[in-house]
Symmetry: C2
Subunit: 413 residues, 2 copies
Amino acid sequence: MEAFFKLKTPDEVFHIIDGFAPVGEETVSLEDAFGRVLSVDLTAPEDLPDFFKSTMDGYAVKSRNTFGATESLPALLEIAGEVSMGVAGNIVLKSGQAIKIPTGGMLPEGADGVAMIEYCTLLDEKTLEVSRAISPLENTIQPGDDFKKGAVILPRRKRLRPQDLGAMAGLGFSEVPVFRKPRIAILSTGDEMVPISRRPGVGQVRDINRYTLGALCRNMGAVPVYMGICSDHFQPLREMVEKVLSSADAVWISGGSSVGTRDFTLKVFETLPDFELLVHGISISPGKPTIIGRSGVKPVIGLPGHPASALVVAEVFMTSMLRTLSGAVAYGNGLHTIKKAILKRNIPSSGGREDYVRVRLEKDGEHVHAIPIFGKSGLISTLVEADGLVRIDMNTEGLYEGDKIDVMLFSHN
Amino acid sequence: MEAFFKLKTPDEVFHIIDGFAPVGEETVSLEDAFGRVLSVDLTAPEDLPDFFKSTMDGYAVKSRNTFGATESLPALLEIAGEVSMGVAGNIVLKSGQAIKIPTGGMLPEGADGVAMIEYCTLLDEKTLEVSRAISPLENTIQPGDDFKKGAVILPRRKRLRPQDLGAMAGLGFSEVPVFRKPRIAILSTGDEMVPISRRPGVGQVRDINRYTLGALCRNMGAVPVYMGICSDHFQPLREMVEKVLSSADAVWISGGSSVGTRDFTLKVFETLPDFELLVHGISISPGKPTIIGRSGVKPVIGLPGHPASALVVAEVFMTSMLRTLSGAVAYGNGLHTIKKAILKRNIPSSGGREDYVRVRLEKDGEHVHAIPIFGKSGLISTLVEADGLVRIDMNTEGLYEGDKIDVMLFSHN
């Protein structure tokens, strides 16, 4: 007979997941830092930019020399030279003078603004008409406008985007302290499993979870470590898990879809050093038989054997865990991009558990429609067809056609 | 004086970008196929699953033996054996019999349904009570339920997600035909540029675009090929571009932020074999001086020199181009995730061009607020602070506080 699990609610599970810690730190080159998570508050070692520069092609001027200038009464200035890119000028701008300057050029001493070329007319080689008043600092960037020396540029736990790398490049960081990518050991159990390289015999199936779970890890910036297939025997599985935990940061065992083998995964976990069982079943569908424990600080996870159920559980909960292990700010159930949509069919639900229902999105003019994908939940094809999941709260009896709903897009869409 | 460009509208630019073709095809292992784009319609070489199996722990039965069964009047069946995982059973189920079966087990010949263990009571070792009627095919998956032999599993131009890899694994694909990753040569020009490894002299700046543009390429599944910095001289730049185009699929030159050097990038492009100028300026801000051309089938792009402008143009247009070159379905301006938000301040705009304004998002209870980031558009810090962009149409004079707006999230958020 099936044992009675004390099921945890999804909120309790998210809270437990938040209790894990980042797996460690390392230093990578700036080039390899994209998508990585910063492990320190990064401060500016100098002003960016560190010189006073023009943001326009034009003429560097003393702004007060242009005050009151208009098209009908332009300011007349004497051209005293030209600024070259990337070098310090040695001309000092005197009152009544202008110096030609390109975008990005360094303002000459004495200048405090730039007249855009559009408002400038050359009367002769040496004489310039400026047809607009230039305010102090107009068309310039001052030292420290981007970042002042000592300011925090990027906070700890920030996942680095292209522009973040740009700020670091501008300040000369060639190396970046980041959290290590978590190494997740992925192991499939089941006497019916064969690797995809082998033709399954009658009653056998290919190992799907290795690929789905591995890709999900990669997408979240983790490194999957493939352990292969283990038969449903206690001793070899126990040895494999113990061995892999010496090098990996977590282990995910999928399989044990029948009651007997499920208990068997837990029995193996229970032999691990400093083991604590945190979750033995979650009040969701699909994914109820999920196990979450820890051996020391390392999460040990038992996922359902059905590939579709395993992937839904991984999408809902393991993305959060991977985020936590990789040091990024964890948002619990709020990690996924939410798309507002109009439900196109009723979805019944039995209370007392959260249902995660696969939906396909279809655009209809201004509206987005969500079409629930019914059919056997164990089929991987239902996920291939889906764009995301709709969460149906424990305390409702379902959703109705025409309801405005939130669709959690898959993290890898 | 500035030449008068015939500016293209963003829609015209998206249309031009759609005219480029995927860069080629290759075969990768299933393990490396995540995120890649399928180059063929993939069909199922066999049924998935290829045998009749149980989705529950329970007893395989002939459904008609249970018709009418209830808790008060259960069906009595003789237990004729047990199915093991992953092997073909050789017991044939006769009328009046039941055979124990685990989830995923192959149904014995003669059975057409599975009674869940919850509805079964063992009276003795050989006798089973079933307290519910089982419909034909109940709790089973039939051959081909996932995919029928010959059916299209995944269409050409699909970017492969974890579940898509799962479907392929289930059908035994160990290799996958995909489009090649486009190789994008990235080159920065400017006499004021130094590599980040060097301390800039007075008036010099570090090369930021290499890192921002490279990361954006990686995020879109392209391979950046870093060409370094080229001074503002015609001949070395021309030689470098010609050489790199023999191995890269496209070249992006950033720099030339001043009018003179901008023309100079175009002059270099004009010497390339089979060159056609497609875009010479776009009616957007920032990013107006963008150049798009082709040398044969290869795009050659001139991006603004300001890191922030270059990255906005890359985010808005180059993500679309990378998607096209990598064979994925192109959506033009519809590629980005859109977040609905309420604008917190007026944004003025001069008509006749599309403005892309940086915004920060803040959650306020149920609502999401978009706070425009004003300040000098050339500052990279404005992008570091931003979560996305708001597009302001050519034909409006701006947006107002309280407006419900669409925020384009950055592709790499």
